[in-house]
Symmetry: C2
Subunit: 363 residues, 2 copies
């Protein structure tokens, strides 16, 4: 069971607190992605220093390597990766669809081959929940199918209803305990009626939180916002809402305005490794020659070490020289940018000025 | 001018202090290598946390990218790379021989093509000293030629004498100031008479310190020790002695016993990126399957974060998954191992028990 309280609302946006066995998560929250038990190129104490209170771990990656049994034997994912704050794990379903080969979906679950070595694996709702239990995840996600976009409506309806049956089986397999919880995942593509039906199915089952899945798969921001707007009214007001795999800063702000509380995305960390820097005035390509002799920081308003101690010229030099420190500094900076954004969003909700704040120029 | 004092001797080993404009270096000292302005995969504050008081920067790499003029414009190498302790730079000569193409050595200097883009460059004693001045190096090294091993004696004699003429030109080009100094480099291969002659030439010129170059190039530890043993007696007792590019822990201990004060080597950092861990009981390959389920630290006596917070199983998992954090943690650990070794060596000299200490089992 996970306690969640909404401290304040501002329009449909909510300022909340999710209490887990590994600390409280202030929402709206952004979760850096720690794919295989590490936020790439960062020490966990650095991730914590940015203000992050919760990480996302990938069940698909961790089940293949090093394996859930090993992580459990090592005392769970928190201890294994030296992160004592909260962890949310996805179900593995999304990566099975996006990374693995030779997938076969049945009512039982999904069979697939590892993208690492071609070995055969199987995920059912029960297996996914068991793996997440072994990882000691604070927030377990139901197994679902994330259909592609665009998608034939009849397949989408069939898939969504199967995902709802999987949600029931996931909930039944979940071992409830204090400070741990399970979230259902709403599907239904961009169809309001399917979304509504999906929400109602999930509420019937009863979850600690509700995720919106199947978005940010190519439908575009406008249609994504439209779908969120038509989905959140069907979700319980007293439970957290999590928009999976999203997104850019403007995606996040627009979704908070429509009632979403939690986000995860590889964008800040992946961008950090490819020399893209998020700043309050736009995204910079740090390989660009214009930075070669620039002794100013990436973002003078940022408190991260990259901005406090180094020039744009130095960061560019690191990327030109393919130095690991470039990835380290820029990942830190980007995660700091995202966590600062979330802190600013929470402050704007607290001060009843989120609409105003959202008018800023966000990428 | 650099102040150096020998606080205590123990046989031929010396406990000393080198005072620079960027802090004091306790000797015997190990200098982590910060090739292009970064100790690969480490934040400079982490390097300082290991106890390192001085870094080595590579003139060859820095002159090619980002260029000495840029570093000077950015306030010097200390500021550019956020390292406020001492920096020693090599002359570039060694990398010209080992990395660049189409070298041509004349009395004037050396012409070469960049290993990065094939562009033509020139290093003379005067140019090398000017570059090191622009980098704001605390310890400037003379330009010399590092002959291969084995090497024809007549060429070696000719090369050594040219290097001594270059040493004079280097010293003449050096702009002396408080807390900054220049070291001469003794050459002569494994020939005692050439080494003696080289030492005498350097002493005639007069330097703040004396390096032993041209060793650890394939002659083996025994012949290296033998050469050091026959060289250090010809060097002034009141100046620091630096064995360039060395080495393994046992190389360092054996050289300290023979009167050497300073060392640099890529071994700890490079090993950290290839999953090799230095420990008090030998070198471990962290990719080895035997670590897969081992929840003990790499080295229980080590104080670095890799050993305090992570299991061997986790470190192995990071290398198996090609995660940057693996390189980050293991580089930190190996640099910590080297800096701990130097601290233990200094303590053993202080307590008059270095011979006893050296009997330990060092790789």
């Amino acid at each position: 069971m996970l306690k969640f309280e909404v401290e304040k609302t501002c329009g449909r946006a909510r300022l909340g607190h999710l209490h887990t066995a590994h600390g409280t998560v202030d929402t709206p929250a952004f979760m850096p992605v720690g794919t295989v038990g590490t936020v790439k190129a960062m020490m966990p104490e650095s991730v914590a220093a940015t203000g992050a209170q919760i990480l996302l771990g990938n069940t698909y990656h961790l089940m293949l390597r090093p394996g859930a049994d090993l992580v459990q034997k090592m005392g769970g994912l928190h201890k294994f990766m030296n992160w004592d704050k909260a962890i949310l794990t996805d179900s593995g379903g999304f990566q099975v669809m996006s990374l693995s080969k030779l997938r076969k979906i049945t009512e039982d679950g999904v069979e697939f081959r590892s993208h690492l070595d071609g070995s055969a694996h199987r995920l059912t709702p029960e297996i996914s929940i068991e793996i997440q239990h072994k990882l000691d995840s604070n927030v377990t996600m139901c197994l679902d199918e994330c259909p592609p976009y665009p998608c034939d409506r009849s397949y989408l309806a069939e898939s969504t209803r199967r995902s709802m049956r999987w949600a029931k089986r996931s909930k039944d397999a979940f071992i409830d305990r204090d400070g741990y919880g399970i979230f259902g995942i709403c599907q239904g593509g961009v169809h309001e009626d399917l979304r509504k039906e999906s929400c109602e199915s999930l509420i019937d089952i009863g979850f600690d939180g509700y995720a919106i899945g199947g978005l940010a798969v190519g439908e575009g921001q406008e249609l994504m916002f439209d779908t969120i707007e038509k989905t959140t009214p069907h979700l319980p007001a007293d439970k957290p809402r999590y928009l999976m795999g999203v997104g850019r800063p403007s995606d996040i702000i627009g979704s908070v305005l429509r009632g979403v509380d939690m986000f995860d995305c590889v964008m800040p960390s992946r961008s950090g490794r490819t020399a893209q820097a998020f700043t309050r005035t736009g995204v910079l390509n740090m390989r660009n020659k214009c930075h070669a002799e620039d002794d100013s920081p990436i973002d003078p308003k940022c408190s991260c070490p990259a901005c406090r101690h180094y020039s744009r010229a130095y960061i560019r030099h690191l990327f030109q020289s393919k130095e690991i420190l470039g990835c380290m500094l820029l990942t830190w900076h980007n995660i700091q940018y995202y966590e600062d954004l979330m802190r600013d969003i929470r402050q704007a909700i607290r001060e009843d000025r989120l609409e105003e704040f959202a008018k800023g120029d966000f990428v």
